[in-house]
């Protein structure tokens, strides 16, 4: 028998398609993957300790930097946890604005994620450019609302920092009008592409029972056929007022996750339509008036105790765990990062496939290193 020896390849930390500084030590026999060992820590900045040094208001600014694609959803989760502990009541209009911003952020994330995933697969940026165009339009909305495109720092305890001006509402409606045409265009470009089917069908399969054990969440678990979405499992904020479906895959391979993300963009559009119609017009109630002044937010002191709140971020279940000692900053500030937990299943999904598939499977999990390394 021909004596062959396995090759140890280092994919990352500086590699075109590891979505950030993430290193995979792959042992490869020819082109087939034998074992994968992820190495973390290149972007570790001890985010959780910052949350313990700074006050609650100051920590909002760093929650944007966790999953820097969805700063709105990170803030939404964090503010909800603090409000739950301090039992601050959030007015109606503020809840609607938060849901609108979160769903816009979900569309932004999925459009970009599918673009990156196809870029990893080799299509030279066409889908990425189309996805980024949608992302640009949404970021313009975030810029005029929050003040900056990615690090919005927009939500406060008890509501949001700034109200939606009429022309902003009109901007959002305009975007929603053009969005379905984008999705059809996107699907016609990629959905039946034979090469995409060949590259993604039955690749990186995560069977249903294993998905639950690996406690992966988001499109990865829904791709494997388990309808687990926190907006439906434990409805937070006002998600129980909207009618939307949970897309679910059947085989659990990379192709299913791609389809689930496309369908989720449609559902987010559906939620946004309903939210824009039901948006209450009460002018001042974009924030709980008792906490309107910034000094009130800065001086906020939470009663001793702890709270754990979960939010459905496009990457999975984003959880904030705050233990407070009655002081002005958290005693323990912990984050459940969906990208990190989803990576546990990476080795199991990639074994047996080729080097080219590792990159595609990693792209289908859609990780962001800001969240993984915290």
């Amino acid at each position: 028998m021909l004596k062959t020896e396995e090759l140890q390849i280092n994919i990352g930390p500086q590699h075109p398609s590891t979505h950030g500084v993430f290193r995979l030590m792959a042992t490869v026999d020819g082109e087939t993957v034998v074992h994968l060992e992820p190495v973390f820590g290149y972007l570790h900045r001890n985010h959780e300790q910052l949350g313990e040094i700074w006050t609650y208001l100051q920590t909002i600014t760093i929650t944007d930097r966790l999953d820097y694609f969805n700063s709105m959803i990170n803030e939404h989760g964090y503010c909800m946890t603090v409000e739950k502990l301090a039992s601050i009541e959030v007015p109606e209009r503020a809840e609607y604005i938060r849901v609108i911003m979160s769903e816009l952020s979900r569309i932004l994330n999925h459009a970009a994620a599918i673009g990156f995933w196809l870029q990893d697969m080799g299509s030279w940026g066409t889908t990425l450019m189309f996805g980024f165009r949608q992302r640009e339009m949404i970021m313009d909305i975030f810029e005029s609302v929050g003040g900056s495109r990615m690090m919005c720092n927009y939500m406060r305890f008890g509501g949001v920092a700034r109200d939606l001006t009429p022309n902003l509402v009109e901007q959002i409606n305009l975007f929603l009008e053009g969005f379905p045409q984008f999705i059809d265009d996107f699907e016609r470009l990629m959905m039946e592409n034979e090469i995409l089917l060949a590259r993604s069908r039955n690749v990186g399969v995560l069977p249903k029972e294993l998905a639950a054990a690996y406690s992966v969440t988001g499109p990865v678990i829904r791709g494997s056929g388990i309808p687990y979405d926190i907006r439906r499992a434990e409805p937070y904020s006002i998600y129980d007022r909207f009618a939307f479906d949970i897309p679910v895959g059947s085989v659990g391979d990379v192709y299913d996750r791609f389809l689930v993300r496309m369908e989720e963009m449609r559902q987010s559009h559906r939620i946004l339509r309903q939210a824009m119609e039901q948006l209450p017009q009460a002018s001042g109630s974009y924030i709980n008036q008792a906490y309107k002044a910034a000094s009130k937010q800065q001086g906020l002191r939470l009663p001793a105790g702890e709270a754990y709140c979960r939010v459905e971020s496009p990457k999975g279940e984003l959880g904030y765990y705050i233990v407070s000692n009655g002081g002005n900053s958290a005693y323990r500030y912990g984050i459940r990062a969906p990208s990190l937990i989803n990576l546990t299943a990476l080795n199991d999904m990639c074994r047996g496939y080729t080097v080219a598939d590792i990159v595609v499977i990693l792209g289908s999990i859609d990780i962001v290193m800001g969240e993984v390394d915290r």
Binding site: R232, E234, Y308, G319, Y321, N325, N328, R332, R336, T344
Partner: protein, 218 residues
């Protein structure tokens, strides 16, 4: 499967798995907790009775925080929660299996370690949920700070793999039985566990860089 609140869970555990629950003596705000392993840990050593001063957060950052947050009196230590199921460390895998197989909590969301130097212990909090939805269950394990050892549940729940490594790396909680018991964020030769309250903070080294960067030789 009926939804349980913490009280019912504790009662159920008491009945089904005798000896699993941690015999927690009534803990006052700064009282100690009997060590879970019945090791001969003298009560006095971890007894911070009467010592109401905050955990000595060394390093300039603490002074920094003092100076900055004007109206903040010294940080007290949060009380340990009583009503959740506090489990003995070595019985954790059984309790986890019980929760999953008998009570249907088949999804482990979060494994967090919280450091309480004032009580001399580290509390590891497990959040279990159901895939079908609904509120979850919290299981706590309290281990002494100096040798924090909790049997790993990764063989049963592969999802806890990376979370346990984070607890090990940042808090120093050992998980025997973990398939890959190594540091996750820090490089392997790093000593100490950064997220512990008594880890010496070296402050913001950015200014050194800024000063060194301008051609100043160190």
């Amino acid at each position: 499967m009926p939804l349980l609140n913490q009280g019912e869970l504790r009662a159920l555990l008491e009945r089904e798995l005798p000896g699993a629950l941690d015999p927690t003596r009534p803990v006052n705000r700064y009282g100690n907790v009997e060590a879970t392993h019945q090791l001969e840990v003298e009560d006095q050593a971890s007894d911070t009775m009467g010592d109401t001063s905050p955990p000595p957060a060394t390093g300039d950052a603490a002074a920094e925080r003092q100076a900055d947050v004007v109206d903040k009196e010294e940080p007290s230590v949060p009380p340990l929660s009583q009503d959740d199921a506090v489990v003995r460390a070595e019985r954790l895998p059984d309790v986890a299996a019980f929760l999953r197989d008998r009570l249907g909590y088949d999804y482990l969301s979060r494994v967090t370690a919280v450091d309480y130097p004032a009580y001399g212990l580290i509390e590891v909090v497990y959040h279990f949920y159901r895939i079908e939805g609904g509120p979850g269950q919290i299981v706590r394990v309290r281990v002494p700070r100096d040798n924090a050892v909790i049997p790993s549940i990764t063989p049963m729940w592969p999802g806890a793999n990376l979370e346990e490594r984070v607890c090990y790396d940042l808090f120093g909680v050992h998980f025997p039985g973990h398939p890959y018991h190594k540091r996750i964020y820090m490089w392997d030769e790093f000593e100490g566990h950064p997220m512990r309250k008594d880890f010496e903070k070296i402050g913001d080294s950015y200014y050194h860089f800024k000063w060194k960067g301008e051609g100043g030789e160190e």
